[in-house]
Amino acid sequence: MTPPAAALAVTDLAVSRGGLPVLERLRFTLHPGRALILRGPNGSGKTTLLRTLAGLQPPLAGFITAPPETIAYASHADGLKATLTVAENLAFWAQIFGTGDIGAAVDGMNLRGLLDRQAQNLSAGQKRRLGLARLLVTGRPFWLLDEPTISLDVASVALFAEVVRSHLAAGGAVLIATHIDLGLPEAEVLDLAPHRARAPAAGGLMGAFDEAFL
């Protein structure tokens, strides 16, 4: 993996969900080799922020600067095809991202024994491990992770923390929305509570009117 030349920087960002602003005045920089953990109660806009950073929806205001084609996004859903095997699922994403090699990802998330199993026959935790292994085949430096540890057991969480740590050591960076302790003491924490969007009357932004109908 080539280390990114620049960092992922966010300036005065505001994001909206369903036409309502949820977060505003966000300002942070994610440097290579660093991990940033997003904390906030349910509905505080963690997923919306990650989707905006991934480019799936436009920001309400502010700027996101990142080198092009450097962000890999992992949502709640793993994007697995039930009738494809573990190896086929991974190989597909490896081809899409043009990396081709799934060996490191298979070993990283301990999937070696499951390669020929169809994804529909995996347990929830095994599916999650496969979903996270997809990040390794993207070859992209910035990982945006939305609740990555859901349905993982303690051993798998430790395994995943190890994968994240080696990604950081290789010059990558991660932004994680999570409620649990991942065992990454070096990670910085960004609390989203102070960034909650204010009502328009209190000086906050108006949401886009037509968004509510999309």
């Binding site: 480019g55 799936l56 890999a72 859903a77 009738t83 597909f92 991202f97 999309l214």
Partner: protein
């Protein structure tokens, strides 16, 4: 992009992929019509081009909502949208995979079923040609409809209503081409118009479909 195409084909062929759905529907309609209309050969050969084309069109329609709905449900559409291939390319590959699993089998099966409809002999090559030329347009237009309705629960009805009017020109010129071919008349006009519709749809609609997807993924 080839990888996406191959994945879609593999998914369609595996259990539950719905590969035979359109073909089965085509078969059922074309087998049932002669039973309903009666065995008189002259009537059947008169309506054969229209029935064969309507059945092919409905068979295409049947599998449209699967194009994006499954990928949207399991989250892979989000991941594809953030992947390095352009969304226009994703849409084109999806339409191509839909055609290979629906339009192509219909085209190949049509001569056998035309026999049941007592299609006059000279019409056979024109039937296959018109389906080979027209069904890609059905897949591309259908992909656009599927992209418009991707986020909706039970969007199938809306999808059919949106797509049907767009299918009308293809149906008219496709059936006309077979009719004229079977009667030994000049076929240049419907042939060129059908080819024009397909070429135009394949060139323009992927951009519209990609734009619709981007809005729906927000």
């Amino acid at each position: 992009m080839i990888a996406l195409f191959l994945r879609d084909l593999r998914l369609a062929i595996r259990a539950g992929g719905g590969f035979g759905l359109g073909l089965g529907f085509f078969l059922i309609v074309v087998v049932l019509v002669p039973l309903g209309v009666g065995p008189e050969g002259r009537t059947l050969s008169l309506i054969a081009p229209g029935i064969l084309w309507v059945a092919a069109l409905l068979a295409c329609l049947l599998s449209l909502d699967r194009i994006f709905a499954l990928d949207h449900e399991d989250g892979s559409l989000d991941l594809l949208a953030t992947a390095p291939i352009p969304l226009e390319g994703v849409v084109t590959m999806k339409a191509l995979a839909h055609w290979v699993t629906t339009g192509l089998p219909l085209t190949l099966a049509s001569p056998v079923l035309a026999l049941l409809m007592n299609l006059p002999g000279p019409g056979y090559p024109w039937l296959m040609l018109s389906l080979a030329l027209g069904t890609p347009a059905l897949s591309v237009i259908g992909t656009f409809g599927a992209a418009l309705t991707v986020g909706l629960k039970r969007g199938g009805l809306l999808l059919s209503l949106l797509v049907l009017p767009l299918y009308v020109p293809t149906l008219i010129f496709g059936a006309e081409l077979v009719k004229r071919g079977a009667a030994g008349q000049a076929v240049a006009t419907p042939f060129l118009l059908l080819a024009g519709i397909t070429a135009g749809a394949a060139a323009l609609l992927p951009f519209a479909s990609a734009a619709a997807l981007r809005v729906n993924l927000r």
